[in-house]
């Protein structure tokens, strides 16, 4: 495993997230000022020197993202779906891709601290387990912005005996179909 590349990949992701969060915080701070001045039916200019307040629209659009004045809510910034590739003492390694981005290939490799896993989900940590990793921020008490990481493991349903039998039957049917197509092509080639 190329640990340097892994580290670089993680650094890059962390850097991007920090930058995004900073942008969001700045926008929300501006938004709050608007909220506090909402009762004021002023001219709508950006700076009102007389009252020494800054005005901004209730909604601010930046790069297609709309930040609203709604408070005390988790806002996801990045969401990955990952598969555990190795489990160590305090950390685990995972191959991840951004959710909803089908062009994200090849997948990123991350090393994640086990402390990020909920106690109730720790028994699910094994090679091959699928999880969501969501990074975002939560605004609490109206103004406090807290960076938050959510790591949630999927609890995939168990395969029943009937499921396995059905899968075997489907495989057999597909195999017979492929064989008959192959034989047909061969016969066609010969004629």
């Amino acid at each position: 495993m190329d640990f340097d590349a892994l580290q670089n990949s993680s650094d890059q992701i962390s850097f991007d997230i920090d930058s995004d969060i900073q942008q969001l915080i700045e926008l929300d701070q501006r938004d709050n000022l608007t909220l506090s001045e909402k009762q004021d039916e002023g001219s709508g200019s950006l700076v009102n020197l007389e009252k020494n307040v800054v005005r901004a629209p209730a909604l601010t659009i930046l790069k297609g993202r709309i930040i609203s004045s709604h408070q005390d809510r988790f806002r996801a910034i990045r969401n990955w779906e990952g598969v555990v590739t190795a489990v160590c003492d305090d950390t685990f390694f995972a191959s991840v891709k951004l959710v909803n981005d089908k062009n994200t290939l090849p997948k990123d490799e991350l090393e994640i601290d086990k402390d990020n896993i909920d106690v109730g989900d720790r028994n699910l940590l094994k090679v091959g387990s699928v999880f969501y990793l969501t990074l975002g921020y939560r605004k609490r008490n109206g103004s406090q912005v807290v960076k938050e990481t959510r790591l949630v493991f999927r609890r995939l349903p168990q395969w029943s005996g009937a499921d396995i039998a059905q899968a075997e039957e489907d495989t057999d049917k597909l195999w017979i179909k492929l064989q008959s197509q192959k034989n047909g092509n061969t016969a066609e080639g010969q004629s």
């Binding site: 629209p57 709309i66 609203s68 996801a76 949630v152």
Partner: protein
């Protein structure tokens, strides 16, 4: 699918119609069957546990079970969690539960630039001109009054389904009632599958198969429909 406008709230739910026993569906039942963690089950926020209705939130999933209806709901970013939960519950444990209808629903609240934009969006879907003089008065109020009328609800239905199943897709478009300050719009996409007549339904195998087969496509389709409205909201 990336959305044209980032929603304030984006949730997906699975609704099943059939015959259920709400007393079974308690947090610890899900915990003991490894459908959620025991810790999440113990920390569940209970609303009602009653022989006819069971409502609680556990592990960021909202559960609501009545005698004829089962619903689970979570944020769309973690959508597969409720699919796993339904398939685990009814595919592994409660396989004889008669279920005849499946709904894959998506609820989104997204903000408009400002109130006039939202009004213009509403007028695109429900033009005021066909309402004659009354429509003109509403239009004038929109321009001059802070408190004014306009489109309050529109429902559009697609039937038959494109995938050959019985059922329909229904979209409900309204001003958001929970995000009033953001001039937000609420869209609910109800992807409805009628799988068998209630009296002929013996178990839930067909529901599990349909959910497995149609889940991704349904979420993609709801995203597509919502994005079409969002595109209009950005340009109107």
């Amino acid at each position: 699918m990336n959305m044209e406008i980032e929603p304030e709230k984006d949730e997906v739910s699975i609704v099943l119609l059939g015959r259920f026993n709400p007393t079974i569906f308690q947090p610890l039942w899900f915990g003991h069957n490894n459908l959620i963690s025991i810790e999440a089950a113990q920390d569940a926020e209970l609303s009602i546990i009653h022989p006819e209705i069971s409502q609680f939130t556990a592990s960021d999933i909202a559960f609501s079970v009545e005698l004829g209806r089962f619903q689970v709901k979570c944020e769309t970013i973690h959508k597969d969690r409720i699919k796993d939960l339904v398939i685990g519950s009814f595919g592994n444990f409660l396989i004889h539960t008669p279920i005849w209808t499946l709904g894959i629903n998506r609820d989104i609240h997204f903000p408009c630039r400002d109130e006039p934009t939202r009004m213009r969006l509403g007028s695109c879907f429900a033009p005021l001109e066909p309402w004659g003089g009354w429509g003109l008065r509403i239009k004038k109020d929109m321009e001059t009054e802070k408190r004014h009328g306009g489109m309050t609800r529109l429902v559009m239905k697609q039937e038959p389904r494109l995938d050959g199943n019985n059922g329909y897709t229904k979209v409900d478009l309204q001003p958001s009632s929970i995000l009033k300050e953001e001039n937000a719009v609420f869209i609910e996409v109800n992807d409805h599958f009628e799988l068998s007549p209630p009296k002929e339904t013996l178990g839930c195998k067909k529901v599990i198969e349909t959910l497995n087969k149609s889940w991704d496509e349904s979420i993609q389709q709801s995203g597509y429909i919502i994005n079409e409205v969002m595109k209009l909201a950005k340009t109107v």
